[in-house]
């Protein structure tokens, strides 16, 4: 008797709660797990909210941590959209079954085929290349040619590059594994390590600065770090960045290594429609321009103009390697770098 009443109370309160919850949910919203940091994403999300009335909820963090969180939260995860700043993580999320395929004419028509997943699990939003920068005074660019050439003994003690724990070095090495196989890549990595001017340390900006002060002659960095330094408010940084020039590697061959920032809709997205809407907004003219310029990147859409800084470096040939490959070979790349003694 008592139990029956208890059950009734329970059921009715649960029913009330779910009505309340439904009421709360009626305001459209979309939940974003973003590896791109708040100051580089929030303004565009706010703009989206203004235009559509959809509230955007945001958590930022490392891509691996966010993916782990999504995985553990499982079917009840609130995540609608996962945004990462490298393709390897998007690939990993897809492999783990955390992303769902999206049919969208907007996305498929605006984003070049190379920069989206073959099954539409993820889409790139912006591009960056990993390039060689060199000391304008001491290096003759005619000496430079390819990533492969960085292992040549002529560069002994002259190269600065950051740790192999960094995802962009892992992706670059993964692209080498994809093109040349594991063995040849290991040999290349050994040559590169032998040419290093110092133990890998610091970030990409630190490598550029080290070239500027003469600790090394070459550095391997992502394009947006150099552009960020050229546009910095600190005069020191601008001066350091001006001491170096960009060299686009492998232009006579496959082209320069490309990585992307991009996004995919979560497998269990509670707000799937809104997530697609947001993703489509991110390839709109307005968003592409802002999103690329905020971090000095190249827009994924070829018809959106690049910033003045990037334009000054000229056009370049990009490696057409399928981006999936970078994710597929990531673990191999790490092992190769471990064996080669690249710290």
């Amino acid at each position: 008797m008592l139990f029956g009443q208890f059950k009734k109370v329970c059921v009715s309160s649960v029913a009330t709660l779910s009505v309340l919850a439904a009421g709360m949910l009626s305001a459209a919203e979309v939940n974003v797990y973003s590896a791109r940091q708040e100051n580089l994403i929030k303004p565009i999300l706010d703009r989206f909210s203004e235009q559509t009335g959809i509230t955007v909820n945001l958590i930022t963090g490392g891509a691996d941590e966010l993916i782990t969180r999504m995985e553990l939260e499982g079917a009840n995860s609130p995540a609608d959209l996962l945004l990462t700043v490298d393709v390897g993580r998007l690939h990993r999320a897809e492999e783990m079954g955390l992303l769902q395929p999206i049919e969208s004419d907007v996305l498929t028509s605006q984003i070049p085929e190379q920069y989206r997943d073959a099954d539409n699990h993820w889409f790139a939003v912006s591009l960056r290349s990993r390039v060689i920068v060199y000391d304008k005074e001491r290096v003759d660019p005619a000496e430079l040619s390819t990533y492969e050439d960085l292992a040549d003994p002529k560069w002994a003690g002259k190269i600065c590059i950051r740790s192999s724990s960094n995802i962009y070095n892992q992706s670059l090495t993964a692209s080498m594994v994809s093109h040349h196989g594991e063995e040849a890549t290991e040999e290349w990595a050994r040559g590169l390590v032998a040419n290093m001017a110092r133990n890998p340390q610091g970030g990409d900006r630190d490598q550029i600065a080290a070239v500027a002060v003469g600790q090394c002659e070459l550095a391997v960095v992502n394009t947006y770090y150099l552009a960020g330094m050229l546009n910095a408010t600190s005069e020191d940084q601008v001066e350091q960045a001006q001491a170096v020039a960009v060299f686009w590697p492998n232009q006579d061959g496959r082209g320069a290594h490309i990585n992307v920032s991009g996004a995919g809709v979560s497998e269990h997205a509670p707000n799937r429609e809104e997530a697609i809407q947001l993703l489509e907004y991110m390839v709109s003219d307005e968003a592409q321009t802002w999103y690329a310029e905020a971090n000095n990147e190249y827009p994924v859409r070829t018809d959106v103009p690049v910033s003045d800084t990037l334009a000054s470096w000229g056009e370049f040939k990009a490696d057409p390697l399928a981006l999936d490959e970078l994710g597929i070979h990531n673990a191999e790349a790490v092992r190769v770098m471990d064996r080669a003694g690249w710290r």
Binding site: C10, L58, I59, G61, E73, S77, A212, G214, S234, Q240
Partner: protein
């Protein structure tokens, strides 16, 4: 009737013990979750590591620990003795200022010194410009190196040793020291043969905290390119996508700490460190004169200047330089979020720490001691790993409740605790409770059991003994414990980052995001806020310890 009463008392007592053990178990869930990976297969990652970097990780971690351990002893114990037992110019100021570096997060001091001393920084730039040199023409120590990491970590971690050893020196009965003097010991021998050995539990407690935090550090070693065990954990997890091997590496890290703690415990053997004399009188401070007083001043000022003043001024300069780029309107919310998390965690850690230490004192049996020990390991684990250890059980619980509710009532409850501040605070407690526990334990171990007996003979129950004897005697330790947790939470980053709810930011997160984009100068303003928010509690800790000396009347 009496039988019934005895039964009731026994029930209450056992109930309390069981409750405490259950609590310990609950808090150990994240640590045990990490351990549970040990049996799983890592798909050859270990063989690969053993062939390549494993020995490097172990070697570098050991060197880092040894270096930091030795340096914090020098920077912590000696100044504690000097300011407690001597008076020299500035000694009253240094007494509390020596704690200030505690407010400085390790990764921030690392970024700051790198900004100043690196090859591209202003110091080396000045050298090159003044003497018209190029890089390589002169020698300069490399800041981003193992030595650099040891220095950075020691500069911000030595206050744990300073605080706890100073507390111990203050609580020592002067009579013991006077006896040693009458037996012909000079001040140096009184320090090295009587005071330090007596303070050993406190010094070791401080050292243990420092070493655990050193092992858990990721931000500093990663930035400096030092391959420690933590680097290995994240490389394996993120780079090779092997979360199992990463968890196994974390488990090894914990085992290592466990062995260390047990070894220390065993080497102490059956020695106990209660104060045998209860006669306290004002500490007779020796007034240092001549060259000694200046040496003492320089020696005690050095850690404050290097660990606090220099990086603080550098941050302030950067913050001023970038003031037009910083969005200060968001700061009040960030500060409020940081403070409320820190306050909540500090209070919970204090209460739990006190009850658990106390239960351990009442029932020092194996079950109790082992559960406390497992609990203490949380501090040695990188915050991200703890966070995953929290995510797993919380998500499992939420999803189980949801499944049950769906099946039973056809209603989905979704995630109840995951992604809320409850999970965040739980992670803080798991990670920082050892700090509170160690501090309270060190204080409690110095209260002789005969005090409890005396209380009991006067008809007090356990609760009354706690309230009327222990708490007043432990006031300093309790305050220190809660404020240490407070400051630690203010600085905490990785667990907050991954566990937090939507649209929730703290000062540490804001600082990290800018620093991570290699925009160090813009990160300075929020870094400075963390330090400022931490200074006030740090000063309170210091002052309260001076006032906590037994026999000391706070108002005189």
């Amino acid at each position: 009737m009496t039988g019934l009463l005895a039964f009731k008392t026994a029930m209450i007592k056992h109930g309390a013990i069981i409750a405490i053990i259950a609590l310990c178990l609950l808090l150990s869930v994240p640590v045990l979750t990490v351990f549970s990976s040990v049996g799983a297969s890592s798909g050859g990652v270990w063989a690969h590591l053993a062939d390549t970097l494993l020995w490097d990780y172990i070697g570098q971690s050991l060197m880092l620990m040894t270096g930091v351990g030795l340096l914090v002893l020098v920077l912590g114990v000696a100044p504690a003795w000097l300011v407690t037992m001597n008076s020299f110019p500035g000694s009253r100021l240094l007494e509390w200022a020596l704690v200030l570096p505690l407010a400085m997060p390790a990764y921030i001091i690392a970024y700051t010194y790198t900004g100043m001393l690196d090859v591209t920084g202003p110091v080396q730039g000045f050298i090159r410009d003044t003497f018209d040199l190029r890089f390589g023409d002169y020698w300069f120590p490399q800041i981003r190196s193992l030595g650099g990491a040891i220095t950075m970590l020691s500069l911000v971690l030595y206050p744990y040793v300073y605080l706890l050893s100073r507390m111990a020196f203050l609580e020592q009965s002067v009579c013991v020291l006077e006896v040693s003097r009458t037996l012909g010991a000079g001040p140096w021998r009184a320090f090295s043969r009587v005071a330090v050995p007596l303070a050993r539990p406190a010094i070791i407690a401080g050292l243990a905290l420092v070493l655990m935090e050193t092992l858990a550090d990721y931000g500093t070693v990663q930035y400096f390119g030092v391959s420690t065990f933590t680097t290995g954990i994240f490389r394996t997890w993120f780079g090779m996508g092997s979360s199992i091997a990463a968890a196994q590496l974390s488990a090894v890290l914990m085992l290592f700490i466990l062995v260390l703690v047990l070894t220390e415990h065993w080497s102490r053997s059956r020695a106990r460190y209660h104060h045998t004399s209860s006669k306290y009188s004002r500490l007779p401070q020796i007034r240092l004169v001549g060259v000694r007083k200046w040496l003492a001043l320089v020696f005690c000022a050095m850690p404050v200047v290097l660990g606090f003043l220099v990086p603080f001024l550098q941050l302030a300069y950067w913050a001023w330089d970038t003031r037009h780029l910083v969005d200060f309107s968001a700061f009040s919310e960030l500060l409020f979020n940081s403070l409320r998390l820190a306050l909540t965690a500090a209070l919970i850690a204090l209460v739990l720490g006190m009850f658990i230490s106390y239960a351990k004192r009442l029932q020092p049996n194996l079950t109790m001691r082992s559960s406390v020990r497992v609990l203490s390991l949380g501090y040695a684990i990188p915050g991200t790993v703890i966070a995953v250890g929290v995510l797993i059980p919380f998500a499992w619980m939420d999803n189980s409740i949801d499944a049950w509710m769906q099946q039973r009532f056809g209603v989905s409850t979704g995630l109840i605790f995951s992604g809320t501040l409850v999970a965040v605070v739980f992670a803080y407690i798991v990670r920082f409770l050892p700090v509170a526990l160690n501090t309270v334990d060190a204080g409690l171990s110095k209260i002789r059991p005969s005090m409890d007996d005396a209380g009991r003979s006067m008809g007090m129950g356990s609760w009354q003994i706690l309230r009327r004897i222990h708490i007043p005697m432990l006031r300093g330790s309790l305050l220190t414990a809660s404020l240490l947790v407070f400051v630690d939470v203010l600085k905490e980053l990785p667990a907050t980052l991954i566990l937090r709810p939507f649209n929730f930011n703290t000062l540490a997160i804001r600082t990290y995001e800018l620093a991570n984009q290699e925009r160090l100068t813009e990160a300075a303003a929020s870094a400075l806020m963390i330090v400022l928010a931490g200074i006030i509690p740090v000063i309170i800790i210091s002052l309260s310890i001076s006032a906590s000396r037994p026999g000391h009347d706070a108002r005189t």
